[in-house]
Amino acid sequence: MADDKRDVPRPFDVRTVEYLLKLMSEHDLAEIDLKEGDQRIRLRKGSAIPAYYPAPLAVSQPVSPVGGAAVSANSTSAPSSNEPKAPSTSTPTKKLIEIKSEMVGTFYTKPDPKKPDFVSLGSKVTPKTVVCTIEAMKIYNEIVAGCSGTIVEICKSSGEYVQYGDVLFRVDPG
């Protein structure tokens, strides 16, 4: 059948399950929940063993990913056709809030090379706290946290360009 020859994994295809398991271990995910049309697959590792989200800097407590950003954030990492979306999973441990970019531009962690960073790991933020600037066309836009909590992850480096939807920070609301 023509179907078997295509490279697009379907939810109940062994190749898909193998691929997903590989993704899960590469990114240290405890659970993936994927939906495409009316088909859905959910894979959960072990029992209550917390998974550590990969981060370049130390994380203060074990967390589970929210929003499935690891699976769908990078458009080039998956099979060539449209990727299925990964909706947020509910987990017994804390949820983190993601501060996402609504702009395209260059991300800066400080207002000025000589000044200190706006925030760092462990900084407490409130909705109006300025966390970074994003520069586009020589205009520096101050980005506010829009939530309350503690910065537990800084996802982009100063000077990197960001797209719409990129996760900039993760905040622990607890």
């Binding site: 080039t76 060539s80 056709s81 449209n82 395209v104 066309m137 797209q163 939807g165």
Partner: protein, 453 residues
């Protein structure tokens, strides 16, 4: 100005792929922007860089000027190609690009403004001695005035209620007698229906053909035409089929229309690609209606008959190069036809048919061209227009083009979504279309409601 190193494509789907290809053909890098609905889309694989510019809704992504300009800025793109639709005829966008030091691959802002406006463009046309649809240029207050105008422009005329709309409040008059009775009746009806009896007159074009002329100009004042396309087959003002040359258009009329289009473009100071649209009546009188100041969906029809890569020329012109061709170099060879294939269900009032394309087996062979972003497994999103492919054939004669198109439509296998292929098959078996005798009312008169074959 040296040639661009990197161009940003501010569009999606087949035209984004088309522009990416043209960039790569010139050794230029392509940056593609995309919305969240197009994440993972197949054409993005061919871009050198991709930037997500917003959520699915166009207003927040493909129409979001600040993010698009920022995307060009952060990726170092020196120019933006707007494609068609979206921001392609938005003069504010063109202005902002250029003000930001990014070249907009299209016409100059003032030419876009002047020709983009139906009213203003008529003024430019009249000044360039290009015929426009004659109108009474104001209200008509008496039967005598009406008669005077009708005699001037020639019957038939259309009596229009100025407060009317949606096809209401219009009457056709074919001679003095019907004009007299029609005029009074129209005023009475308008008064009753719209509380305003004002009427004006326009020449009535009975079942006109839609014939447009492709133009391209450079920044050195050269403008050439690339002959015409006949786009008479339309449904609700959406083109279904386009061909070149226009069948049954006398050569003299063709030459006049093409020359008129060039005159108009030059008068407006136009450069880069554009199309001058005309209506042609049953007596082969042509009337200017408007200019599309951008590259169009059906540009490949012209590319096939003239052998010119229009997107490549657009890029060259935007980089400041003089036109590669002179008017005498442009010749129409053979006959080309394009059909637009939409993800729509013809059996259900052409309702959109988004979803996953389970099988995609397009036709091929000599003189067959497919411009499409679709691959097997592609999920057609519901958020944008429904066109999934443009299928073109180019053959030595119109009859051969028809034979090849019929064969291609039979060969084309698509499963998982509905397409308009069945209705296209019907169209290519229609005797009037085969004889080249169709007009803009044809589809709705003859084929609706139609059963797919």
């Amino acid at each position: 100005m040296p040639m661009f190193q990197r161009i940003l494509v501010a569009n999606r789907g087949e035209i984004a792929l088309r522009v990416i290809r043209a960039c790569h053909d010139l050794g230029i890098e392509a940056v593609a922007v995309y919305s969240e609905a197009d994440r993972g889309a197949p054409w993005l694989d061919f871009a050198d860089q991709t930037i997500c510019i917003g959520p699915a809704v166009s207003a927040e992504s493909y129409l979001k000027i600040p993010r698009i300009i920022a995307a060009a800025d952060v990726t170092g793109a020196q120019a933006i190609h707007p494609g068609y639709g979206f921001l392609s005829e938005n003069s504010k966008f063109a202005e902002q690009c250029r003000a930001s030091g990014i070249e907009f691959i299209g016409p100059p802002v003032d030419a876009m403004d002047r020709l983009g406006n139906k009213d203003k463009s008529k003024t430019v046309a009249k000044a360039a001695k290009v015929p426009t649809v004659p109108g009474s240029d104001g209200l008509v207050h008496s039967e005598d005035e009406a008669k005077k105008f009708a005699r001037q422009v020639g019957y038939p005329v259309l009596i229009k209620a100025s407060a009317g709309g949606g096809g209401r409040g219009m009457r056709v008059a074919r001679d003095d007698a019907s004009l007299a009775s029609g005029f009074h009746a129209a005023r009475t009806e308008a008064e009753a229906a719209f509380k305003d009896g004002s009427v004006f007159l326009e020449k009535y074009l009975d079942r006109p053909r839609h014939v447009e002329v492709q133009l391209i100009g450079d920044q050195h004042g050269n403008v050439i035409h690339l002959f015409e396309r006949d786009c008479s087959l339309q449904r609700r003002h959406q083109k279904l089929v386009e061909e070149s040359p226009s069948p049954s258009l006398p050569e003299k009329v063709r030459q006049e229309m093409c020359a008129a289009a060039v005159r108009l473009a030059k008068a407006a100071g136009y450069y880069n690609a554009g199309t001058c649209e005309f209506l042609v009546d049953q007596d082969n009188n042509y009337y200017f209606i408007e200019v599309n100041a951008r590259i169009q969906v059906e540009h490949p029809v012209t590319e096939l008959v003239t052998g010119v890569d229009l997107i490549r020329e657009q890029i060259r012109v935007a980089a400041g190069e003089p036109l590669r061709y002179q008017q005498k170099d442009i010749v129409q060879r053979g006959h080309a036809i394009e059909v637009r294939i939409n993800a729509e269900d013809p059996a259900n009032d052409f309702r959109g048919s988004p979803g996953v394309v389970k099988t995609w087996r397009p036709p091929g062979g000599p003189g067959v061209r497919l411009d499409s972003h679709v691959i097997t497994g592609y999920r057609v999103p519901p958020n944008y227009d429904s066109m999934v492919a443009k299928l073109l054939v180019h053959q030595p004669t119109r009859a051969e083009a028809f034979a090849v198109m019929r064969r291609c439509l039979r060969e084309f296998i698509v499963e998982g979504i509905h397409t308009t292929i069945p209705i296209l098959k019907t169209i290519f078996d229609n005797p009037a279309f085969i004889a080249g005798k169709v007009d803009t009312t044809f589809i709705e008169r003859e084929l609706m409601p139609a059963k797919p074959s």
